[in-house]
């Protein structure tokens, strides 16, 4: 019972925190038909700012980090990305009335990572005073790319099988390059590189860091508006996707929490790191994933996969997932 109460308290507290409040505010405002929008260039700049900041922080810490201690978490990250896609595709393919292409694409997005959910979790951990290794958020691509890759390859294999062979196979290298070149992962990696090989400390402290939370609050608003307006679209596709999007984030998050706990026991992975691993697994990609999947699985209906991820997956991951893993961490690690 304790954990439930604990979770209830953390959850109630989170509702008061700007991160979640702005997300819900965005949904509300869209629900009421407001014409308020954050201009697209500003939105894209905010995403850039968050990701390069995450990268810079990670890079600055990596200068003196013990690479050995990263190995297990990194490995788990890759494994989670792959396992989530495999499990999701397996489950969805068994449900009636769904199109294989849509299934692979949806499983792919849930295996991939939401940068905004990750940033939200970082702010919550900061507020709760739960420390984490700054390189953990930089594991993002280790989960994202394998997941998108797996989804596209599996979809291609399935298509080929249906077509009786001949459709040619996915160009793995091209997909990986495409993912790395996407604006989100590029910004993260660029920040990391700059953090490692240069001394950006002063500009990070005076510019990037102070803007992080404020910009995140605006991003949450955008996500909330987007979530609401995607719901109508999602309603028009098979309801199994909404069901999957409701359950999957929590299942994935808890599984990742378990693996993170193993890393904690064996290599001293921090409690905050465990939470972030859970958050990454429990999140579904909203920025970098969709274009990659659109290009890689052109037959899939974006209303199904983007709808599931943006309208249900992300709100669940932020509103339920983050407080749940934080409460769990406080319980398990006695914080």
């Amino acid at each position: 019972m304790d954990i439930l109460l604990d979770f209830a308290a953390t959850f109630a507290a989170q509702l008061q925190k700007p991160t979640l409040a702005f997300l819900i505010g965005g949904m509300l405002i869209a629900a009421l038909g407001s014409q308020l929008t954050i201009p697209d260039p500003v939105y894209r700049f905010i995403v850039f700012m968050l990701l390069i900041t995450i990268g810079l922080r990670a890079g600055m810490e990596l200068r003196q980090a013990d690479l050995a201690s990263m190995l297990l978490p990194a490995l788990f990250t890759v494994a989670l990305g792959l396992a989530i896609v495999a499990a999701g595709a397996f489950a969805l393919n068994r449900l009636p009335g769904l199109k294989p292409d849509d299934n692979y694409a949806t499983a792919g997005l849930f295996g991939a990572v939401s940068a905004s959910t990750l940033a939200a979790a970082m702010v919550v951990l900061d507020e709760e005073g739960i420390p984490f290794e700054a390189w953990v958020p930089a594991l993002y691509p280790f989960m994202d790319i394998p997941a998108l890759l797996a989804a596209i390859i599996l979809a291609g294999m399935a298509r080929q099988k249906r077509a009786g062979g001949g459709a040619g196979k996915a160009d793995i290298k091209a997909i990986i390059l495409d993912s790395l070149r996407g604006s989100a992962i590029s910004a993260l990696l660029l920040g990391m590189l700059l953090g490692i090989i240069t001394r950006p400390d002063s500009v990070v402290e005076s510019f990037y860091d102070p803007l992080f939370r404020g910009l995140l609050s605006i991003l949450m608003l955008v996500l909330g508006m987007e979530a609401w307006s995607r719901m109508a679209e999602l309603a028009r596709v098979a309801h199994w996707y909404a069901t999957y999007a409701l359950i999957a984030p929590i299942v994935h998050g808890l599984a990742a929490f378990g693996l993170g706990y193993v890393a904690h026991m064996t290599t001293g992975f921090s409690p905050g790191g465990v939470v972030l691993l859970a958050v990454m697994a429990g999140s579904s990609s909203d920025i970098s994933g969709p274009p990659t999947l659109r290009a890689g699985i052109p037959g899939a209906n974006p209303s199904a996969y983007i709808g599931s991820s943006t309208a249900v997956g992300t709100p669940v991951a932020i509103a339920i997932g983050i407080p749940l893993y934080v409460a769990l961490a406080q319980l398990v690690f006695d914080l």
Binding site: T37, V42, Y43, R44, E226, P290, P291, P298, I306
Partner: protein, 106 residues
């Protein structure tokens, strides 16, 4: 003086994501230029692009306008793009006759 010459205009409307691939075909099949504007649209595949900040900006629409001197090149561009992409990607193509100055440019 009134040196107007017949030419053919092809309009291709495709997703932003496909833009560079379609432009490559346009050039390969012999066009000497093109003009591209961005926008939003609706068709068989639903709505493309919205007023909200684009979580997936790749899904807005581009309108590619190509003028070629010969009808044959126009048909080649239209058919190649159509065969290559319009089985599983959204998009339309259409043509009309126009009159140009300086026919050597097209």
């Amino acid at each position: 003086m009134t040196a107007f010459h017949k030419a053919t205009k092809i309009i291709l409307v495709v997703e932003r994501l496909l833009r560079d691939k379609v432009l490559a075909i346009v050039e390969t099949e012999g066009a000497k230029g093109y003009t591209v504007t961005e926008g939003i649209g609706k068709g068989e595949h639903g709505l493309h692009g919205t007023d909200r900040p684009g979580i997936a900006p790749g899904f807005t629409i581009v309108r590619i306008e190509v003028i070629v001197a010969g009808r044959a090149a126009a048909e080649r561009i239209a058919l190649t793009v159509s065969q290559r992409y319009f089985t599983d990607h959204p998009g339309i193509v259409y043509m009309s006759e126009v009159e140009v100055l300086r026919p050597e440019k097209f």
